[in-house]
């Protein structure tokens, strides 16, 4: 049983169907697309698709350059997004993304019961009973791909007067207004960027200093696409960006007053504004899952998950889509997974489908074997090109296992955490990793007698990991098991 028809639910359903796992998908929406049926508010994504790339469209390696298409196992349905783009930007428009997802669902024949809302959950023997607006469903395993789109606002006196990002009006209605945006993360900057041609004044305020992805050298922080208000601010163009806590918002007539305290000890500051918007984030629509025992953590209340996307506290409850951020992985060097966006969570869904097929349905397609002489070339090629490893750095890995009966078995793409923490036959997992210095390099994890050793290989200016040096270092790392 899968809840949700955004990219997460649809990718999972596709991958389950491909493995012949019987399942049902329900969605509160009337059509496929999930959050992209409405957002991003300013109608253009922040995840890119390069229509022209070093690899042919419709191949697996092309996926590294196409962050937005869902991932079939069959070449015919690959790379749908670039087909739908008009060349004006390498960030698809919202509508192009919605069409991309709907086309995938249509062409691959994904079946969803639309207009059906999950309203409650009870245990039912070994499984669950899901109450929905179209009657009860019983399921052994449930997967929530319900997104992270429920508006959340902090407890600030007067916050009830303040609309959320989700309630932003048409941009032209902000013409000539003074707009105060609470928050300084991506969605705050998306709005500020969109208001630049309209608003008379834009203020962004929150306690934490702005982080920019091009400074953190990761997906953490405001993405390059929305940095313009920041430049306007530092060049004195009129945008105000403040590190301050918001103490109170009051409203008299058409006017808002926002009381703030500067984080640098500079005292309090009062702002007058015509509009205030809270870009303070979203939460998943958890419904009654907390009462069922599903634990979450952090401000965003994302359910805490095992490396295979199962709730850490309630067995047989899984997650797909952007909610898989709750399976945080190793977070090496503080760099998070890409599971919040399509280019990351589409691979998680494929892994989850395989896990469900094997665990609950005994469906486990035989894994291919590899000749010993081919191992080096194969791993170096994967490290240089595999989209799973490039999109999910330090998070997903290609794993080879030494099987007593079959020889060297390609165990596929697996969560890196599962490999380094799990017990199993001798083997190797390779991942692509990055550090705060913006270096990207291969990492090799060798498991011998259930002890894992880490070998970090050098970076390369052209990101070519098939050099003689990489080959030599990989050979040395693999020596104990090959």
């Amino acid at each position: 049983m899968v809840v949700g028809s955004g990219p997460g639910g649809l990718q999972l359903s596709y991958s389950l169907t491909h493995l012949r796992v019987p399942h049902a998908v329900i969605s509160a929406d009337p059509a496929p697309g999930g959050m992209f049926r409405r957002w991003p508010f300013f109608q253009r994504l922040l995840s890119w698709t390069k229509p022209f790339a070093p690899f042919e469209r419709g191949t697996r390696f092309y996926e590294r350059y196409d962050w937005n298409s869902l991932i079939p196992d069959d070449d015919r349905h690959r790379a749908i997004q670039p087909r739908l783009m008009d060349g004006t930007s390498y960030f698809p428009s919202r509508i192009e993304m919605e069409q991309n997802i709907a086309t995938f669902a249509r062409e691959t024949g994904i079946r969803v019961r639309y207009g059906c809302r999950w309203t409650g959950t009870t245990r039912d023997g070994e499984g669950f009973r899901l109450r929905t607006t179209a009657g009860d469903y019983r399921a052994r395993v449930v997967v929530f791909a319900f997104g992270l789109a429920e508006p959340w606002k902090p407890e600030i006196p007067g916050i009830e007067h303040v609309p959320h990002y989700a309630d932003t009006r048409a941009p032209e209605t902000y013409a000539g207004k003074r707009v105060f945006i609470i928050g300084k993360e991506v969605s705050a900057f998306e709005l500020a960027n969109g208001f630049l041609p309209w608003a008379r004044q834009i203020v962004l305020a929150s306690p934490r200093p702005t982080q920019l992805s091009v400074v953190t050298n990761s997906l953490v922080g405001v993405r390059a696409r929305y940095v313009q208000p920041f430049e306007d601010h530092i060049l004195g163009g009129g945008v105000v960006i403040m590190n301050a806590s918001i103490d109170e918002v009051s409203r008299s007539g058409e006017l808002f007053r926002v009381k703030t305290t500067r984080s640098d000890g500079g005292g309090s500051l009062m702002f007058e504004a015509d509009d205030v918007i809270a870009t303070t984030g979203f939460q998943p629509p958890l419904g009654d899952l907390p009462e069922l025992g599903v634990v979450s953590s952090g401000r965003e209340k994302i359910p805490s998950q095992t490396p295979l996307f199962e709730s850490i506290s309630v067995r047989h409850v899984y997650f797909a889509g952007t909610a898989t951020r709750g399976a945080a992985g190793l977070k090496k060097n503080g760099i998070p997974s890409s599971s919040g966006a399509v280019h990351g969570h589409r691979y998680n869904a494929r892994i989850l489908a395989r896990h469900i097929a094997r665990t609950y349905f005994g469906i486990d397609p035989a894994r291919p074997t590899l000749k010993r002489d081919d191992v080096l070339d194969y791993l170096l090629s994967e490290l240089s090109r595999a989209p799973e490893l490039w999109h999910q750095k330090s998070y997903l890995a290609r794993s080879l296992l030494m099987d007593a009966a079959r020889g060297i078995v390609d165990d596929g793409i697996v969560p890196l955490q599962l490999f380094v923490d799990g017990e199993g036959p001798d083997g190797v997992a390779v991942a692509v990793e990055a550090n705060p210095k913006a270096e990207i390099y291969p990492a090799v994890y060798v498991r011998k007698n259930n002890v894992v050793s880490e070998h970090l290989l050098p970076t390369n200016p052209l990101l070519d990991f098939e050099t003689a040096e990489h080959r030599a270092q990989l050979t040395a790392a693999l020596a104990p098991i090959l």
Binding site: R208, S245, S296, K332
Partner: protein, 144 residues
Amino acid sequence: MCDMATTRGELGDKLSSLSLFADLSAAELESIAHIVDERRFADGERILRQGLTGSGFYIILAGEGIIRIDGKDYGKLGRGDFFGEISVLLGDPPVADIVAAQGLHCAIIPGPALEPFMVGHPQVMFRMLKSEARKLRMATSWRT
């Protein structure tokens, strides 16, 4: 796309009850609450991994962390204890595993953010130093 809250009262409250953050002003606690991540771990899950680079600094909000070296347990850490700083500060991989037990719940500062955090909050750094001094005394008293 994760937008932070403007006030993180809940986490700030949890931090204020730990000795590491005792005597900090409410504003300072709030600013710390904005920098740290929170995470709950499944019992048995590894948080620090012996020999693996790239880890962070962890402060226990609830539950326990078992110290395990080469598969053997050497004691446990509890609420208010912290770990991971030595590996981050020295740039070496951890010399022990820390394994979650009893519903471990931690506040986390990513490795690369630890130095600016310590320099930015000298009182916290001082308390960390005291705690390191205590550990050192214990280690030397075992030897003599």
